[in-house]
Point group: C2
Chain length 306, copies 2
């Protein structure tokens, strides 16, 4: 008998989502940072969820309860931001060990509420149950003006690739107290035509691969241009680490020139030009090394069941 | 140090939801079957979530993978139905053991998709991760015409209490393959003024207590009138069992007379008049026993951490 760890996360998701029937109001279904739904009133609804499991996404040693709660909610804010939208409402399902201290549980909820307040999200519902490991699933509904919607699939050959902030510091606890790039994303989509966007949640290379795959384009990264965190051990590790929660996005050269002339300085977190979209093999990634050599790489990043 | 199992589920929820800040568009926040949100276009949005954990909500022995998936989604349909609404969109977060068979995982998703198709729900997003126990959290967004919205808090002294179907058969595996009373709920809210409604997910008494508490009223049940399943061992156990997923609802006597004259026969699942709302102690429940004796009871039902 085949076990799910044998087939890998991406194949498993493909298998499980096969044959889903979607209403015609669903503009974008599973496979992007959030689903997009057409509703009355002019704005699209965005809808996403993210589950955090103890000893998989975090360990109690080295995490604060506040950080666990903050991250569980902020990851969803990051997903909504990556679609160009604004988060509005969330539900929180938590499974907790009966032996957990009441103050620890309070701390997790303070983190959830802290992130909700910071990003204007109303926690409108929840569920609570028992389990051996702390498990928190947050779902989130947001909204986006139709003109501001950005998906993964709009990158075109010739577009330029940008990333906010720095890459490769998530191993140092930063992944628990990160700031989703909501203001930055809204700055971008309200002023420029962003052709594609994703939040870097599984490593720069894996998420760039996702954009390139969805857009049926290739991509080229300039190693020297990638803003690697001073705390990262190497470029190759930095681009394969899991949870930077930075924005990876593309623009046509015309938009990019406008952005670089006027916009980068206006961003709360600066963005850096790191590469270009090519007409190469769909999903393909080429890295131009410091010595000028171009190297095709595999998009390794964090996946479950591997 | 106090552990969460020491303070009980209801107290813990009270503690954790304290200090939530809700946007003014939130008509009903945490504490009902689903949250109610005011949106453009005339209809309210409904939003809820429910988590199912292996060995807490179900055991692999005695459950089919299809049943596990069906139930995880159908519970949310039942919540949306209990608000008078129609389910539309869902997200599915699943944490699965790596050792789980691929066909077992397929079976769970077939159950999820089967329920989604049956009740017109589009599964628009999801998340997948590892864990030792199968854990499935489904969140759901629905909608309801403002005139059809029913909450837990509208029961008034003198109203009559009804329940659909029969009570007390959930111990026999039925809880996995149950049919949420969506059509019945829509039949009711589109034809009658239903003053309060809830789905029976933690036992008739506990859910009646919730309605009475939220409405600040008392209640009286006639034991002889309660439709106990032939498979239940006794009345007292039947009304304390967990998962009937029947609708418990109240109507003014005038509406109830209209309903009993014309409506009950038109319902897909019949409803039974089982008691009345009183001006008694808020949350209080009195059972009139077969011998005519009235007895005040405590609202025991299924809760976690007890």
């Amino acid at each position: 008998m085949k076990h799910i760890r044998d087939i890998g996360e991406l194949k498993l998701i493909e298998r499980l989502t096969k044959g889903l029937r979607l209403d015609k109001s669903v503009v974008v279904g599973p496979g992007d940072d959030a689903a997009v739904i057409r509703r009355p009133g002019g704005k699209y609804l965005l809808y996403t969820c993210d589950m955090a499991v103890e000893d998989v996404h975090f360990k109690r040693a080295g995490a604060t309860p506040f950080g666990i709660g903050w991250k569980a909610l902020a990851r969803n804010v990051s997903d909504i931001a990556a679609m160009g939208g604004v988060p509005r409402y969330a539900t929180v399902s938590a499974a907790l060990p009966g032996s957990l201290g009441v103050r620890y549980a309070d701390g997790i909820y303070k983190g959830l509420k802290g992130a909700a307040d910071r990003f204007g999200v109303s926690i409108v519902g929840g569920d609570l149950s028992r389990s051996a490991k702390i498990t928190i699933d947050v779902s989130m509904v947001g909204e986006v003006e139709r003109s501001c919607l950005v998906t993964r699939s709009g990158a075109r050959p010739g577009d330029l690739i940008f990333v906010t902030g720095t890459i490769g510091a998530s191993g140092l606890g930063r992944h628990l107290k990160f700031m989703p790039r909501l203001e930055e994303a809204r700055h971008l989509v309200s002023r420029y035509r962003v052709s594609s966007m994703i939040d870097v949640s599984d490593g720069l290379l894996l998420d760039l691969w996702r954009v390139a795959e969805a857009s049926r384009v290739g991509s080229r990264l300039y190693q020297n241009a990638v803003p690697v965190s001073a705390r990262a051990s190497s470029f190759d590790e930095a681009v394969r680490e899991g949870e930077d929660f930075e924005l990876l996005f593309t623009m046509s050269t015309a938009q990019a020139v406008r952005f670089m002339k006027r916009g980068i300085a206006g961003m709360k977190t600066p963005a850096t030009l790191i590469g270009e979209v090519t007409a190469g093999r769909p999903g393909g990634i080429e890295i131009v090394r410091p010595d000028g050599r171009a190297e095709r790489v595999r998009a390794g990043g964090y996946t479950h069941f591997l």
